[in-house]
């Protein structure tokens, strides 16, 4: 595929507009649906950037994020209307974020940073050249996460295990006291 820069800019602008809607709207359900629209646009952007693996994963994970967030927000039918606005916090955060963006522009425009479309690929050259001959897997991303760097995948499985266990422990029906007797919720 040729030049993808116009499509990428369109998707990025769409994501920024969707995030503005998600942040500023008062109805919680609208905010959740706007964030899911941003997620779907992100999946299309991954497809344009040559990452079909990531696009599939982002799409199905986005559906589950939508389900979990809707379950979390269905308790109230609208947000609590913010009658007073904490002006000092908003002004301070806007100044701080302006500084952050200026710093980012300085870094991204500097000379040592690789331009968009020319990655450095010092380690990945080895993975791409020896991926198929040494692991016999045609999908190089899978051979990276499950053969060359399988230890990172073990860490990721552990983090997923711990977070799901934590969520189940918080939402448990019956609690237990220190002596081990069951206290009904």
């Amino acid at each position: 595929m040729g030049n993808i820069t116009p499509q990428l800019y369109t998707l990025l602008v769409f994501m920024v507009i969707g995030s503005i809607v998600a942040i500023e709207t008062r109805n919680l359900l609208s905010a959740v649906i706007s964030v899911s629209a941003v997620g779907f646009a992100l999946s299309v952007a991954f497809l344009f950037l040559g990452a079909p693996d990531i696009a599939i994963t982002q799409l199905v994970v986005e559906v589950l994020v939508l389900i979990i967030l809707i379950r979390g927000t269905i308790l109230l039918d609208n947000t609590s209307v913010e009658t007073h606005r904490d002006t000092l916090a908003v002004v301070t955060s806007l100044i701080f974020f302006g500084l952050l963006l200026g710093f980012g522009a300085m870094i991204f425009g500097s000379k040592g940073f690789p331009a968009f479309g020319e990655p450095l690929m010092r380690v990945s050259k080895v993975y791409v050249q020896t991926g198929l001959p040494s692991t016999y897997a045609a999908n190089i991303v899978t051979s990276v996460i499950l053969d060359f760097r399988a230890y990172d995948t073990l860490g990721e499985a552990t983090v997923l295990f711990a977070s799901i266990l934590g969520a189940l422990a918080i939402l448990r029906r019956d609690g237990k006291t220190a002596k081990g007797e069951v206290v009904p919720a």
Binding site: G2, G50, V61, P119, S124, I140, E156, A167, I170
Partner: protein
């Protein structure tokens, strides 16, 4: 360079939503937006101009191997997306518990000290 700058704008908007909003579900939405921005930035760093997806097919010549995009950021982002889902489940379960205990989603009511 403007592509990177738009990613930074997305990250900053997520951070603003996390800090300056009072509703706890809006804070969770801010964290989700920051997650999207970071994953997008990693994949954009690895993009090669005119590149194809890093999947080898039968009878592929060695010159096509030169046109692959970078597979290493894709491996990192794959784990990052699934970890983001797990962390979101934990955050939403805490929101539900907080709502049951205090009856509201408003952080300024929840964080008041009660003697």
């Amino acid at each position: 360079m403007t592509v990177y700058f738009l990613c930074a704008v997305l990250l900053t908007m997520g951070l603003y939503c996390l800090v300056a909003k009072k509703n706890i579900v809006k804070k969770v939405i801010g964290v989700v937006i920051m997650d999207y921005a970071v994953n997008l930035y990693l994949i954009i760093v690895g993009y090669k101009r005119g590149g194809v997806a890093p999947i080898v097919e039968r009878g592929m010549s060695a010159s096509t191997l030169e046109r692959f995009v970078d597979p290493l950021p894709q491996a990192l982002v794959l784990t990052s997306i699934v970890i983001g889902l797990g962390v979101l489940a934990l955050m939403v379960s805490m929101c539900i518990r907080l709502y049951e205990k205090h009856g509201t989603f408003d952080m300024s009511q929840i964080s008041k000290l009660r003697g």
